[in-house]
């Protein structure tokens, strides 16, 4: 049964971390969400495919830590019109899979299905995500999150909530 035993299960605290991150995003808990990030963070939502080079190709989001902070600050002004009133959100995180574990760092994949309701109407977003997490003093932090919208090669509506 070697095929089975080679598939490692995802540590429970990692699963809980992903659920928590999803809840903070859905409930617009901006400060708590920002606190999940490490200083060397990259928050990446590519366009036009799964794996373009973000250093030469346009992405929907390609934020370092300071731009994540700016994004949150803008949302908190209350004048980010595309989030005023904020989108109503509920997302399912599923298909969580351990990709790699080395030292303090863990890479996991997951899919999400996000229901968004705003003034324009209802939109369903489907994504394939990859996370790189780091254990820091016993807690998990996020160092990289890549969100691949399955329709990222098509025209998409405004996406101004935290995806």
């Amino acid at each position: 049964m070697s095929a089975k035993t080679s598939i490692k299960s995802v540590p429970e605290d990692v699963v809980q971390f992903l659920y928590r991150e999803a809840r903070l995003q859905d409930t617009h808990a901006y400060d708590e969400w920002e606190a999940l990030w490490e200083d060397d963070a990259i928050y990446w939502v590519p366009a036009n495919g799964t794996d373009p080079d973000p250093e030469t190709q346009m992405s929907f989001i390609y934020d370092n830590r300071s731009r994540i902070s700016l994004r949150v600050k803008q949302l908190k002004t209350g004048k980010r019109h595309s989030q005023t009133p904020p989108s109503q959100l509920a997302r399912i995180v599923s298909n969580i899979e351990l990709l790699d574990e080395a030292g303090d760092e863990i890479r996991v994949a997951a899919n999400t299905m996000i229901f968004e309701c705003n003034m324009r109407g209802e939109t369903v977003w489907a994504t394939r995500n990859e996370y790189s997490l780091r254990r820091v003093d016993g807690t998990l932090k996020m160092i990289r999150k890549k969100v691949v919208l399955v329709n990222n090669d098509k025209p998409i509506y405004t996406l101004s909530f935290l995806v």
């Binding site: 992405s59 700016l70 004048k79 595309s82 509506y157 405004t158």
Partner: protein, 419 residues
């Protein structure tokens, strides 16, 4: 004898200082626009740098209609209509690539990338048929200015130069900011879908009244001097070039500052490679002036917006649906500059951008506002009393005035009334 001139449908909808809401929401008007504007006037299609090599192609559009922009085997740029003359199938459904021919998947008709039919399956069934009549259709007129490819679905009409008129300066000014005098579009497009009529977007591009309000959220948290350019005390002007082309000319503000690259929110010390390349190309004095003036903020009717560091293409899809295609401009021979343009473009535009997401929210609210029947008209009189002519005879007004919208509607009415 008094002969009354009949008032056209368009005169009843378009007045010098106001336009009727039906212009943005009536599906019959949208259909008429396709015939009178999108399939008649010059429309920006793409840039030659998107098809750098022989046999490269990329899918583009003229209005809602898909076209293939091709560099054929001889190196010539062509605009092919993506429809097999046999049964109407698209001959190409992959967005870009390199191929010297296209084969329709339905009955295997094959076309060279200059449009010629070069073969079909089981040719003995086509005795006596003239192949040369069965090629892919092409956009009847194509013209290229400094790498910008325009197409017109009309067999006859004004030349591209006549159409662009004074707005040609915007393309030239843009290219002059490149040390090699050329721009490239190599970073790929973000495509942003909006439930709004295309003309709300067209008018907003040179609306200098909204930035301080729509973009207050980002101006208040980022270190940006953009907001001041559109303030009440700004000396920037709006300009109507005629033919529907409009701009916000920010050069008076940048010249007042007198600092190279202040238009880009940076300094020569931070971009030494670019500055050295510019000085080598143009000489110290001219390079300094170019870098003070910066790039234009110009809307070329009906679909090409040059927005300082970005290029937008407006594509109407339906009366209440529009796609904005946007990418970072890239200057040939300026890698350090290009990286900053990409980073700033990704931050500001596209569906998640700090700026454009909020503009787009406004367009969608504008569109929904039309459901409210009273008042039926949209008011465009801001700054009418202070319009004046510049030294070239173009109408200008304050950067926050509605002059661009008035210019757009004047041209629109001319196009829609044409036989």
């Amino acid at each position: 004898m008094n002969v009354e001139t009949p008032i056209s449908q368009w005169s009843r909808l378009i007045e010098p200082g106001r336009v009727h809401g039906a212009l943005y929401s009536d599906p019959a008007i949208f259909q008429a626009e396709l015939e009178k504007i999108w399939f008649r006037t010059w429309v920006y299609v793409g840039h030659v740098s998107e098809v750098p090599n022989r046999n490269d192609y990329v899918t583009k559009s003229i209005g809602p209609m898909p076209v293939l922009m091709v560099r054929d085997r001889e190196g010539e740029i062509r605009l092919l209509l993506n429809r097999c003359p046999h049964r109407g199938n698209a001959v190409c459904v992959i967005e870009k690539g390199n191929r010297s021919s296209f084969t329709c998947p339905y009955h295997s008709w094959t076309f060279a990338n200059d449009g010629r039919l070069i073969g079909y399956a089981f040719p003995d069934g086509y005795q006596g048929v003239e192949r040369s009549d069965l090629g892919l259709a092409q956009v009847p007129r194509i013209a290229i200015h400094k790498g910008f490819v325009f197409g017109s679905m009309a067999e006859d009409g004004p030349s591209l130069e006549e159409h662009l008129g004074g707005a040609i300066r915007a393309i030239d000014q843009l290219c002059e900011n490149s040390p090699e005098g050329e721009i490239e579009l190599t970073a790929g497009f973000l495509r942003h879908r909006t439930k709004a009529n295309w003309k709300f977007i067209l008018e907003n591009e040179c609306d200098g009244y909204h930035p301080g309000f729509v973009h207050a959220s980002i101006f208040s948290v980022a270190d940006s001097k953009i907001g001041e350019l559109y303030g009440a005390s700004s000396i920037a002007v709006t300009r109507d070039f005629g033919n529907g082309h409009t701009e916000v000319d920010l050069r008076p503000e940048f010249r007042r500052r007198g600092e190279p690259l202040s238009w880009f929110g940076t300094t020569p010390a931070r971009l030494p490679g670019y500055v050295a390349a510019m000085e080598a190309a143009y000489g110290r004095e001219k390079a300094r002036q170019i870098m003070i003036d910066g790039t234009p903020h110009t809307m070329i009717f009906p679909n090409l917006f040059i927005a300082e560091i970005q290029l937008f293409v407006i594509q109407p899809v339906a009366v209440d649906e529009t796609i904005q295609h946007v990418t970072a401009l890239q200057f040939k021979g300026a890698p350090d500059f290009n990286r900053r343009m990409r980073q700033q473009t990704m931050g500001s535009v596209g569906p998640a951008g700090f700026l454009l997401a909020d503009d787009t929210e406004m367009y969608e609210r504008n569109q929904r506002g039309l459901l409210t029947r009273n008042p039926e008209w949209l008011f465009l009189e801001r700054g009418m009393h202070r319009e004046r002519d510049d030294e070239d005879g173009y109408r200008i007004a304050h950067s926050t005035d509605d002059l661009p919208s008035r210019g757009i509607w004047r041209h629109y009415k001319t196009l829609m009334e044409a036989a």
